[in-house]
Amino acid sequence: MIASFRAETLKARKRWANWILFGILMLTLLLFGYILSYVILKHPPRNFESPVPASVLIRAVFPENLLANVLSPTSTIGAAIMIILGGLSTASEFGWLTVQTILIQKPGRAAVLLGKLANLAVITFLVSVVALGSAALTSYLLVTIDGSSSSWPPVSVLLKGFGALWLELAVWTAFGMFLGIAFRSTAAAIGGGLTYLFVLEALIGQLLRETAGIKEVLRFLPGVNASAVNASFRLTFRSPNAGTQLVDATRGWIILMIYLVLFTILAIVIFQRRDVGGS
């Protein structure tokens, strides 16, 4: 497993696609989530209408709201990016047939996959650190420029928020990785993953969230549970579009962890049993 972990890090580091995905994630987070939000709310257009005044909304980019503001895009753009990253990491091996080259080296199949998982765990950890760190830095700069005062959340909340970020990114990565192994095709894995995310979770999840029968099913979806966890990191003001959550945060944490384990085990089981270079 160590051997395959070391090989995976080399492959991941030298792959441009990974850096591009990381770049998109950081750009969305810092540019849209922070800098543009600040600029727009600082100079709101004349027709700006909101139950909460812009001068209050702007506090979202200040240190006091670090976690809420970083976690909010995690369920959408963050999830999408991580599904792509995870999907690429496994599906490409089938597309390039390199899975065959790997499996005739020494490590067994489980070790090969665990090495991949360990590498993805490290990547999601690093992404979480960099995302949270750079967001913190940006919000510090913005509050300084603004001349307002703001305080950081307590350390315990910061740690918990970091844990939530890492867990959510890891769940989506594992989902992508699982899809890559199940479909053995980059297009199918990414297409399937994103369709699930944006059609099932986002669209149906929003439209039918109060429909009896469907509501009970929604309560088990990873995205719904992730939102519940995110919502527990409250903004310091009453956000106009904060809806009620279908599940409570504790349940959210547990379900997300179950998903992480489930995707991992499923991926290993499928990978172990399936023929390579045949069907």
């Binding site: 030298k14 490590p107 045949g278």
Partner: protein, 314 residues
């Protein structure tokens, strides 16, 4: 002579999910230290067999031992290197980085990389990306990767496919060199002169079954050894005449009649054809080529595409 077996299979069988029986009750024995040629036409089941031996496929039934352990187990993989079907590498990495990745998986020190690059003559292009390589270079990188582990057993699926004459000769020399170094080589091919030049023993596979095994000379002897080759016009008339005289012994290859008969009969056969007004332009005794042996052993009714579903046994 060491008679230890590098590869041994018993009743090895693989039926794909599509229903194609690609390998059928195969008993294969490759002795340690030899170069074994695994020979068969397209779709015969060569690649499938090599995939089974590398642990990439799970057999439908039967057992195998490869380098002293069951296929695909770490113990077996540690002692074998393989290139199956196509050299598969990361297109975005250089040749050298690809070998670094493989070395990390295999748990082999980095210091092995430069020597194998040199061995396959790829040092100059090692820093270029794999996707920029020509077919021959990809092939050589595949061999380099298979050699990284310094394996006792080397499995190469059509190692000369895509190589130019120069590259083919270098590959042959490399295989000889590996044998000299005490390694066992199992290579597949559908080219006869290939195995004739490099292999100690040959196994011929057709439709998933081993139809013959032995040294090249043994195989040649087995199927009659010498033949009579006759060029005559009109060909059909000559064929009919000879078939009535020697039923089941006459074949037409490349516009010549090939007869499996004692060459002492040459004079009387010639007389017969001439007396029937047939022109005989050539009549000679042929040492039967391996080519003929091969065609004879793997003879199938000509299918348009033997690679698609041809492995199914009646």
């Amino acid at each position: 002579m060491a008679q230890a077996l590098a590869v041994e299979t018993h009743g090895l069988t693989k039926r794909y999910r599509t229903g194609v029986l690609a390998v059928n009750d195969l008993d294969l024995r490759v002795r340690a230290g030899e170069v074994y040629g695994f020979l068969g036409p397209n779709g015969a089941g060569k690649t499938t067999t090599l995939r089974l031996l590398s642990g990439l496929l799970h057999p439908t039934s039967g057992t195998a031992m490869v380098a002293g352990a069951s296929p695909g187990s770490p113990a077996s993989l540690a002692r074998m290197g393989a290139m199956v079907e196509t050299p598969a590498f990361y297109p975005y990495l250089s040749g050298r980085d690809n070998l670094r990745v493989v070395a990390r998986y295999a748990g082999v020190p980095k210091s092995r990389i430069e020597p194998v690059l040199k061995l396959v003559d790829l040092t100059d292009r090692a820093r270029h990306k794999f996707k920029t390589y020509s077919t021959g270079m990809k092939q050589r990188l595949g061999v380099a990767a298979a050699l990284l582990k310094g394996p006792d057993l080397l499995i190469l699926d059509e190692p000369t496919s895509g190589l130019d004459p120069q590259g083919t000769m270098e590959m042959r020399a490399l295989i000889k060199e590996l044998k000299q170094g005490g390694r066992t080589v199992l290579l597949s091919s559908h080219l006869l002169n290939e195995v004739e030049l490099t292999c100690d023993r040959v196994g011929v596979i057709a439709k998933g079954k081993l139809v013959a095994e032995g040294t090249v000379d043994e195989l040649r002897a087995r199927s009659g050894g010498r033949t009579l080759r006759i060029r005559a016009t009109p060909l059909e008339q000559a064929q009919r005449s000879l078939e009535s005289l020697l039923p089941e012994q006459v074949r037409v290859i490349d516009g010549s009649l090939i007869l499996n008969v004692d060459h002492a009969q040459a004079a009387s056969i010639n007389r017969r054809l001439v007396s029937e007004g047939i022109d005989v332009s050539e009549l000679r005794v042929d040492e039967q080529s391996l080519e003929d042996v091969f065609l004879q052993l793997t003879e199938t009714p000509t299918l348009p595409s033997p690679a698609t579903g041809g492995g199914e046994q009646r």
